[in-house]
Amino acid sequence: MKTALLCLWLAVLLTVPLWLTDLYFLHILITTGIFTIAAMSLNLLLGFTGQLSLGHVAFFGIGAYTSALLSLGFDLQLTESYRFAVAPKPVWLAFLAGIVVAGFFGWVIGRISFKVRGAYFVIVTISFAEVVRLVALNWVDLTEGPMALSAIPPFTFGIPGLWEETIYKKQPNYYLVLGVAILSYLVIRRLVLSRVGRAMIALRENEPLATSVGIDVTRYLILAAVVSAAIAGAAGGLYAHYVRIIDPDIFLFIYTVTMVIMVITGGKGTLAGPIVGGLIFGILPVVLRSFAGPEIQWIIYGAFMILIVFFLPDGIVPAIRSWWEGRVGPLAEPEPAELSNARPAERQAE
């Protein structure tokens, strides 16, 4: 049953560009896919380790800027005598470098901010994202500041010298985003279903207990932060080479909030949650924009978030799951978050 659903779902995703020829809708699907990847990466921290990182957009932006800058090349006069110049690199190399740099920042921020928990952690992560935004805004020599980085080259595939293909069209971009999304999903799935994932969930549920049975809490948190930041960086790189212009506004807090809304609505701590949430909030603007301006759209998002927390605190996926299990019977494969869903009373008491 579950395998059949999965196959159907994959078949739909793979054939979308064949029956959906409207370029506007394809564009919406591509950006939705990019933000869904970012939401999946946030879910690793927020849903599985229980750390509410509200600076996540920083990693997205760092990935985007690194990838864009390396593919464009840059020339920096650091001191009077020392110049640091980088020639334009192939896009795939820049993209990989963006992932690595974002992951590195995830490690640094993990080292710094996991010394504190709860509200303090939230504030440190927000502060970090704001500092990065202000650096991107003010370091004009490198980032062009508010003038934006433009004419970023699109992705190129092929073997150098023999055959190369630059993708300008929507269809190949769609498959590229889909490929990265599936890969990210598999990485996250592999991680949370492994021993590491169980350790993360253990420390989310009860950190002192997890520590007392010998789980190295900080190590697993930092591992989650690095993987999460790297995937967010990949999403940022995809964004930069698809939209082909980026400015410091991609570091705005509101994008982190968008990711958080996606994760919370879909169901934090479930593998499918961010995908469901990402699709809802990626496609909702298309429905709303026919009759509502951007402010009304945001007001609806905000109200939606409040309503979800009040009435569906675990999100849509766990709600559907329990409804399905009540009607049809248990699903074959347990989600890793089952542990917590089984005992909502204890979580309330935290």
Partner: protein, 290 residues
């Protein structure tokens, strides 16, 4: 030297309003443990009310100030009763998400009602600045500073000298015991949130005429308020007051001697450094983290 004196004077004036913001938030975030993302919106709300009553309706400047603060208190009470009261006892992340939702709704409502165009508010003060030897300061800023100091002292008195203040301190020390002693817990929660919100609205109403009023003015204000609260230590009113002046000092010196583009980054760097080396804040008594 003259430049340094001018920076110090600016620090003093700016620090007063920062302290107001910080005290308001330290009551809500530090004592009630609500990560209050609407704080900046209350600040913007105060400024917009100032604009509405003084510029649109043409009321007296000083009367408008009082009305703006009262409306801020009322809005704070409304938020507490509708959003936070049903969630009492829920964990800190849950209330934080609700407050993020409320923040988005409030900010976009402001944008919808007032449009994105910056508004300015006229004041009854003379345009010529007050010149004190080598330094000068505009009269409206002097007024802002004086009112801010009065409000800070008032908040101190309210919390340490009145019965309501005693009930607040008792409630947040031990909610159950306070309830058993006959303290009306629900009223204390609402009053605390309303008081914090009123102080934010006051800061906005005071700074609105100094700068311009925009729908997004609350974002930086909220983040700075968090910085001040962390500097001073959670729930520490004296700490928040001093924290406000420290943040103003660091920003002013950073803007003056390092780079004005990084003015707003100074506060965030300060937070990260303080949390790394002294996570309980600079002036905290022994306190547990998180």
């Amino acid at each position: 030297m003259d430049q340094l004196l001018q920076h110090l004077l600016n620090t003093l004036i700016l620090g007063g309003t920062y302290a107001l913001l910080g005290i308001g938030l330290t009551l809500i975030f530090g004592i009630m443990k609500v990560v209050n993302f609407t704080h900046g919106e209350l600040y913007a709300f105060g400024a917009y009310m100032m604009f509405f009553f003084a510029m649109v309706l043409g009321l007296d400047f000083f009367a408008t100030l009082v009305i703006a603060v009262i409306l801020g208190v009322a809005l704070g009470a409304l938020i507490e009763i509708t959003l936070l009261r049903p969630l009492r006892g829920a964990n800190i992340d849950t209330t934080m998400l609700v407050m993020i939702g409320a923040w988005i709704v409030m900010q976009n409502t402001e944008q919808l009602v007032w449009s994105g165009i910056a508004k300015s508010i006229n004041t009854p003060f003379p345009v010529e600045p007050l010149v004190l030897g080598p330094v000068s300061v505009s009269w409206v800023r002097v007024f802002v500073f004086v009112v801010a100091v009065l409000l800070i002292l008032g908040a101190q008195l309210l919390i340490h000298r009145t019965k309501l203040g005693k009930a607040m301190r008792a409630t947040f020390q031990d909610r159950d015991t306070a309830a058993l002693m006959g303290v009306n817990i629900n009223f204390v929660y609402t009053a605390t949130f309303a008081l914090g919100s009123g102080l934010a609205a006051a800061a906005g109403a005071l700074l609105g005429p100094v700068f311009v009023v925009t729908p997004t003015m609350g974002n930086l204000a909220a983040l700075k308020a968090f910085a001040i609260v962390i500097l001073g230590g959670l729930g520490n009113i004296k700490g928040a007051t001093i924290g406000g002046f420290i943040l103003a000092f660091v920003e002013e010196m950073g803007a003056g001697y390092v780079s004005s583009g990084y003015r707003d980054a100074m506060g965030f760097l300060l937070i990260i450094i303080v949390l790394l080396f002294k996570p309980t804040g600079l002036f905290a008594r022994a306190e547990r983290i998180g």
